[in-house]
Structures are given as C-alpha cells and as structure tokens.
C-alpha cells in the first residue's frame, strides 16, 4: 500500500489513544489513529469502573449509553467478613460509574473522528521507521498488507502490552512484583448489591491483590480478581482463587458466567526514566499509569491522552518534537499523577505483606474511624493513626 503521512500517529484506540487522537485533532493536528482489532472496545480486558470526576477533568460529557450502572458507593471487605461501606455522601466523586467499555471506547474514538482524526482498524504497528537514527514513522500492517505511516510523533497507546515504547527506546519493563495477572467473569444471576462496588482483601482471597465485584445492573456483575506477580506460579493462579470465592459465596450460588476476560495490570509507581523520547510519547496503560493500589486505569488513560494533545499542539507550533520539547508532557504527568502513583504503590507493597488477621484489623479500623470525606488519602490517614507500620516510608505523601 502507498505510504501515509500525518503529523501524529496514535497506536491503539482504547480510552488513552482515543482521547489523544481527539485532543490532537481538535487542535488542528493531522492525526491518524490505528487499532489492531477489528472492533474498538472489544474484547474486554477491564473491570469497567471509573470515577465520576474524571469526565469533568477531561471535559467530556458522558453519554448515557456509556454508563451501565451508577454506583451509590463502595464496600471494602476483609476475609472474616468485616466490611466497611463508603456511601456517596462520604465518598463524593471517588465513587463512580461502571461503564459499558465497548460503547465508551467507541464513543471516545467517535469524538476523535468528528474532530478530524483518520481511523484505520485492523492496522497494527510492527516497528519504527528510522532515518539517520531518528524515528520518522511506523511500519504497520493494515488488513494484511504492509503499510508505512510517516509522522512527526508517535503516541504509543497500545495498552499493557506496551510494545511501542520498548521498540522506540522507552523502558516500560516491569518488575515481577509490579505485575498483577487478572481474570474476570461477567456473571448473570448474581444476588449481590447492584448499587455498591465491592473490594475484598486478604491473602487467602487474593494474595497481593484484591477481588472485585462491579455490578452492571439486573443481576449482572463483573466479578474478578488480580493477584500479585510474586505470588503467582503454577498452582497459584487468579482463576483458582476466583473459582473458589464464587463457589463459597452464597450470593453467586445461582450465578452463571456470560463472558471470561483476562488481562494484566501494572502496579508500578510510573516510569522512572520518563514517558517520552525523541518523536515518541506514551499514554495510558502503555505508560504504566494504572493506579497500583486500585488497579484503575481509565481515568489516567484519558487524562494522559488529553495532555498528549496539549503538548503536541505546542510542538506543532514550534516544529519541534524532540525529547526536550516532549519533556513538557512528562512534567504534566509527574505533576498530576506521580505523587498519587507513588503513594498508592507504597500502600500496595505494604498491603501485600499483611496476613488475613491484620487485614481484618485494618478494615475494622476503617469501619470505626470517623472519616468525613472518604478517599484513599483519608483512609490512609485513619490507618496511620492506629497502624503506623502500614504507612512507614511514605508518611510524607499522606
């Protein structure tokens, strides 16, 4: 096929790539968005939870069809059944929506298309095109045919797989302990609450991770689990913990699986050496921006995509897409996200060390603490008072 030319090539049409393409195209940048799969937003690799305040931050009005369920709050449960309920009045904007990702992702890409981005499905990158050592585009395959796309900047939005960064010289390799293999069942006939997301902690339930129940309404829920990479091995796999939980919890005695989804979360505190290099930057999961404690990635994905457009518009004005110019993107990410990522990474590391008894104790502390506005920060403050060991080493971030 004849080569294509654009200013910004976005690789991957998930929330991060879609937002990056939208944000670039809106600023008058000639943008191409490519997606490997034949459909944007499917198959699912996600629990679909997102905070309500994210939509304000990215300036996108959520469409009714994107939202499958509007949560009234969240429940945190320990292995002995002690639970702590966060109501919307207390949790505020931390509470969120459970999305219909295949519609949400398409919706964001639709906004990108309306802003002028060209979208190519069934098209994937196989490696960078280099001229005199400089990245000037991407070798791709489109509908089975080789296709070269020349551009000023590549935006890597290829998700947890994160190959674009590594092909282009950005180190996104993860330590074993910062990888969380996950599996999720979409189940029907669930007798759990349809108004509250539930998070179940404990080494016997989900070593190094947690188990989640995200309701989708009408007896349907995403029931899933992630476990810490250092715990995973033959005989200790997410699937067996999830199967055991479902078999033992009476709320799922009649439930049947409609869909099996799997995927990995990164649970690292961001990228040490930065998120960009000459003519390349990374957004969303590919930039390892998933929150290491909650596993939530959609919010950071959308925000980083928006930042990419803002910075690339400046680059276009100056005709400079060098690593130096793209450092403005790194600064935005660090200012907005890095303290939170580091705090939550430390909390994740500490939580992974705790046995069931200590988790039971912690959830009791949370449930009896008088917290006016519940969020991760305030929960850690409550824990800090009564169980300072947990926050040792990152007290200053709380």
């Amino acid at each position: 096929m004849n080569p294509l030319r654009c200013e910004v090539l976005v690789v991957g049409a998930g929330p991060a790539g879609g937002m990056a393409a939208k944000s670039c195209a809106e600023k008058g940048i000639d943008t191409i968005l490519i997606e490997k799969k034949p459909e944007i937003g499917a198959p699912l690799r996600c629990a679909e939870g997102v905070s309500k305040k994210m939509f304000k931050e990215i300036g996108v009005e959520p469409k009714p069809e994107w939202i499958r369920a509007d949560m009234k709050g969240a429940v945190i449960r320990s292995p002995d059944g002690t639970s702590f309920q966060l109501d919307e009045s207390k949790a505020g904007a931390e509470v969120g929506y459970v999305l219909e990702r295949h519609l949400f992702d398409k919706g964001i890409s639709k906004l990108a298309a309306e802003a002028g981005a060209r979208i190519y499905l069934r098209t994937w990158m196989t490696g960078p095109i280099k001229e005199n050592g400089k990245i000037v585009g991407a070798h791709c395959v489109s509908m089975g045919e080789p296709l070269d796309i020349y551009c000023d900047c590549i935006v890597g939005a290829d998700g947890v797989e994160s190959q674009v960064g590594r092909w282009c010289g950005i180190d996104t390799n993860l330590k074993l302990g910062d990888i969380e293999p996950c599996i999720q069942y979409r189940m029907a006939g669930c007798e759990c609450s349809m108004d509250f997301c539930e998070f179940i902690l404990g080494r016997s339930v989900a070593p190094g991770g947690y188990l989640w129940i995200f309701p989708k309404g009408d007896g349907v829920a995403n029931v899933g689990i992630g476990i810490g990479g250092t715990f995973a091995k033959d005989g200790v796999r997410p699937k067996q913990f999830l199967d055991k939980f479902i078999a033992e919890d009476p709320r799922f005695r009649k439930a049947q699986i409609l869909e099996i989804d799997a995927g990995f979360d990164s649970t690292c505190p961001g990228l040490e050496d930065g998120y960009s290099t000459d003519n390349v930057l990374l957004v969303g999961d590919s930039a390892r921006l998933i929150d290491p404690l909650t596993g939530g990635g959609i919010g950071h994905a959308c925000v980083s995509g928006m930042y990419a457009g803002e910075v690339l518009a400046e680059c276009k004005k100056k005709g400079d897409y060098s690593a130096e110019a793209l450092k403005a993107y790194d600064r935005k990410i660090r200012d907005r996200m890095e303290d939170g990522l580091y705090r939550d990474w430390m909390a994740k590391e500490k939580l992974a060390e705790l046995d069931d008894e200590t988790i039971n104790e912690l959830v009791k502390i949370m449930s009896t603490a008088d917290i006016e506005h519940v969020n991760v920060q305030n929960l850690l403050i409550a824990i800090k008072d009564k169980y300072p060991k947990l926050v040792e080493g990152f007290e200053d971030l709380i």
Partner: protein, 57 residues
C-alpha cells in the same frame, strides 16, 4: 514455548510482562521470537496456566 491454544484467553498480559519483548499477540495467535530466553515469567504469570516450556517437567 508451548501455548495451549485451548486455554489461552488472548489477553496479551504475557506480551507486556515479557522482559525481552519477545511475545507477540495478533487476535488469537500468540507467537514468540528468538529473543525469548526462556526465563519463564510468562509461564508463571498466565492467569489460566496456558503456557509451558518445552522440556520442562
């Protein structure tokens, strides 16, 4: 490397966790290139145990 294609859910997690970037996923097809040094990380992490190594017990 051996992929049990009847078990694999094509989630791509192994791709992102491979320290050598030696694994490739296109739809349902998982392939390994010669950069693979048989470190076994993907075998260990696969959520459903779909990967194994030739010659391993």
């Amino acid at each position: 490397m051996i992929v049990n294609t009847n078990k694999c859910l094509h989630c791509g997690g192994c791709v992102g966790s491979c320290p050598k970037n030696a694994i490739f996923l296109c739809d349902t097809i998982l392939t390994f290139n010669s950069d693979c040094n048989r470190c076994g990380r993907c075998v260990r992490l696969c959520p459903v145990g779909a990967l194994s190594m030739e010659g391993a017990q």
